[in-house]
């Protein structure tokens, strides 16, 4: 009896990621780093009509989680807090998701970019009110709630 062929679904290639991104967010500038097997996009996100406009960099390396950094304006810690919520200070990237919520079958344009817009929106709300309203892990830390 022949063995049934159940191929493991392969993740999106960098070229497929780039194509999807160019369709949804054509204004993002893309750089392909073939030797590092990675791609970088730089573009602007305004999370809400009354929000600031942020220049963000999204870096995707095959086999790693996408890294998102805010290039401009600089993210600020509000008075009374000791750090930014949901943020990796070591490499200055945003903590957008838990490990199981992302895999290489998903596209950066459909997941990472909207999640970044959400993060920026909740960051602005937090900066103004002192309360992180976007949920997530560690929501009881002082940095996430108003005093």
């Amino acid at each position: 009896m022949a063995t049934r062929f159940n191929p493991k679904p392969r993740g999106l290639t960098l070229v497929e990621q780039m194509f999807r991104m160019s369709t949804l967010r054509p204004e993002f500038r893309v750089t392909l780093h073939q030797r590092q097997r990675s791609v970088t996009w730089v573009g602007k996100i305004r999370p809400a009509p009354m929000s600031n406009e942020y220049t963000v960099q999204v870096e995707l390396t095959i086999g790693l989680r996408p890294k998102v950094k805010v290039l401009n304006p600089e993210l600020k810690v509000r008075d009374g807090a000791t750090c930014l919520p949901h943020y990796y200070p070591e490499d200055k990237s945003l903590c957008l998701h838990q490990a199981h919520e992302w895999n290489s079958l998903f596209s950066v344009a459909d997941c990472i970019v909207p999640w970044t817009a959400f993060w920026l929106y909740f960051y602005e709300v937090w900066f103004f009110t002192g309360s992180w309203e976007g949920g997530g892990t560690h929501p009881v830390k002082p940095e996430h709630q108003a005093a």
Partner: protein, 124 residues
């Protein structure tokens, strides 16, 4: 609001050096603004409208939530923070229920586009 304020300013300028009259629509012979016969009262009204127009222009040209909210706080007081939180909670509820979608150009809405997968902000 911008249109209303612009029209009030225009009416004030047109009526100069006199005052504007606000007549009762049901009884045009009744002047609802008769108190403005007192020059001091009318000057206070003009000053108030001028200040409101100035703050409103700042509000509508502000491109940061921090700035906009601070201006709103001047206008309406402390409830601004609660209103911002309330809006954020409604947004978060829609996000948790996977009701948000992204269309071309990355616009996020609840009506058109591809559904956005729920995510959990992680880490510190």
């Amino acid at each position: 609001m911008t249109t209303i304020l612009t029209e009030i300013e225009g009416a004030i300028n047109t009526a100069m050096p006199g005052r504007i009259y606000v007549l009762n629509p049901a009884n045009p012979s009744e002047d609802l603004s008769e108190r403005w016969d007192d020059p001091a009262s009318y000057a206070a009204f003009i000053e108030g409208i001028s200040q409101l127009c100035s703050v409103w222009k700042q509000l509508t040209s502000a491109s940061e939530m921090q700035k906009s909210a601070s201006i709103l706080e001047i206008l309406v007081g402390e409830p601004t923070k609660e209103a911002v939180k309330k809006q954020a909670r409604a947004f978060q509820a829609a996000r948790s229920a996977a009701l948000l979608k992204t269309a071309s150009a990355g616009v996020i809405s609840t009506t058109v586009g591809t559904s956005i997968r729920p995510n959990t902000f992680h880490g510190d």
